[in-house]
Amino acid sequence: MAKRIEASGVSSYYGDFKAIDGVSMTVEPKTITALIGPSGCGKSTFLRSINRMHEVLPGARIEGKLTIDDQNIYDPDVDVTAVRRLIGMVFQRPNPFPTMSIYENVVAGLKLNGVKKKSLLDDAAEKSLKSANLWDEVKDRLNRPGAGLSGGQQQRLCIARTIAVEPQVVLMDEPCSALDPISTLAIEDLMFKLKDRFTIIIVTHNMQQAARVSDKTGFFSIDKTGDPGRLIEYDDTQKIFSNPTQKKTEDYITGRFG
């Protein structure tokens, strides 16, 4: 039951600074969409706008319309918590909760939202850890601290934690940038597996990764420092990487600049 996301004319600000300008795109359910572009071009900001994580920072705000199955998530009567329950997020650096065990980390979202029954939690923990390809590695030490795992395992733990609450959409903000190639591969495999159930949007600096995993790719860019980022081109991944319509996109994916 993954959902369609539609952005139209989304601009976002940090105080007076305009970080992205008029981004419009439609993300179909059960697809993987990659957002690529140089540093500081606003792709993370756009990603954080989709589950209203943007506004956690002081002075941050959004203009434009962002709908999930035709409901605008920025309508004044929308509950932020409900939006985030629907749209989960995996961060660049793994952030397991340090006071919790592996098990507690996985079921944190369920437990903190009121699920109390032990059997339900146990099932959810096992299912999520299996989906995140982590079960075999941790099943014997579920009560050890989550922070004691390796970086790649921690990131998969965070993914397990995210999918345990069964969101409709999973946002990933450079989830592999701190990981070695083997862990990266594990997470890419995982994304293919999760595609059956979730809509996934991933920000990445790794163009091979974008080409490998995504169905559609959006290319963000800025003209110069201080300008807002714009969505330059958004199309099938196949097309972006073989035959982009925009000169800027071609320059970026072939490694030519300016």
């Binding site: 985030r84 961060f91 909760f97 006071t99 065990s101 979202g109 601290p145």
Partner: protein
Amino acid sequence: MSLLDRETPGVVMTPDNIRTKKLPVVADLGIALGALVVAAAVVLGFGIGNWVLVIFLGAVFYLVGLNFAAGAVEGKRAARNRMWRAAIYAACVLAIIPLVSVVWTLVTKGAARLDGDFFGSSMNNIGARDPNGGAYHAILGTLEQVGLAALMAVPLGVLGAIYLVEYGKGRFALTVRFFVDVMTGIPSIVAGLFVLSFWVLIVSPWFNDGTPQFSGFAASLALTVLMLPTIVRSTEEMLRLVPGPLREGAYALGVPQWKTILRIVLPTALPGIVTGIMLSIARAAGETAPVLLVAGATAAINGDPFAGPQSSLAVFVYQQAGDASRYAPDRAWTAALTLVALVLILTIAAKLLARRNRLSK
């Protein structure tokens, strides 16, 4: 020749030789011994001081001698390293000396009256010639006053800090933070005077047929005023240390903000918060002036903190230390030892309870 070689000769080893000479341990000890002998000769020879000055001068001579010797053998950089290390160790020892001395004095002098009578009776009807008498009333007073003060100051302080870190934005939060800082500097006697004029003289007559009365609760109020800023500030610092991504991680799971604070942020910061709280409790337990002002100071046992004068351990120490009876100093020492032990036990218990590594056992 590289820039480093030219600008700082002797600091960088040559590319062909990365080994260096080391000052032997024997030489180190020799310098220490020599420094002491020279210091003793100077101090005692001129008759300008006693063994304390010998040790102090010896330490200074040792540092200078070590610097020269190491400079000659090992080079300038290594010598500086050695000297600073020695200086830091010396500072460490210097800092520990008063602590050890205090504990030693308390234990040796306080042991004399560590008996059942001391912990089981009060000073009621104890005259100057009576060797017995105890601090039961004072221990009771301290526990009740500090307990009540903690009951008021801890929730207020922690909630205030949560407001400042998680919710407070703009002018109001700035004002609150400013006044908390100002409150930190309030002398305890001023807190005592405030409670005396406000609570004891104005409010307490309402509950006591128009007569003002001292009470342990008034002392708790004064202690609360003293504890509050410490708790707010230390908790605030600890909450700020909790990484933002942890909060965002919880938000991303659809956890509401208040629950994120309660279940993620507070547990992560708990050990530090508890340390701050224990520091403020220890300080409050040792306060004398405000308790003397607003709780009165009775020699009798009064278990009700809301009515009638109460004593406290700190007040008891103050009174006994100034008392003319030849038995009073022993009582003062034992009370001081009791106070320190009480705070120590509380602190250790709190630390054990708040230990974060319960997972890694």
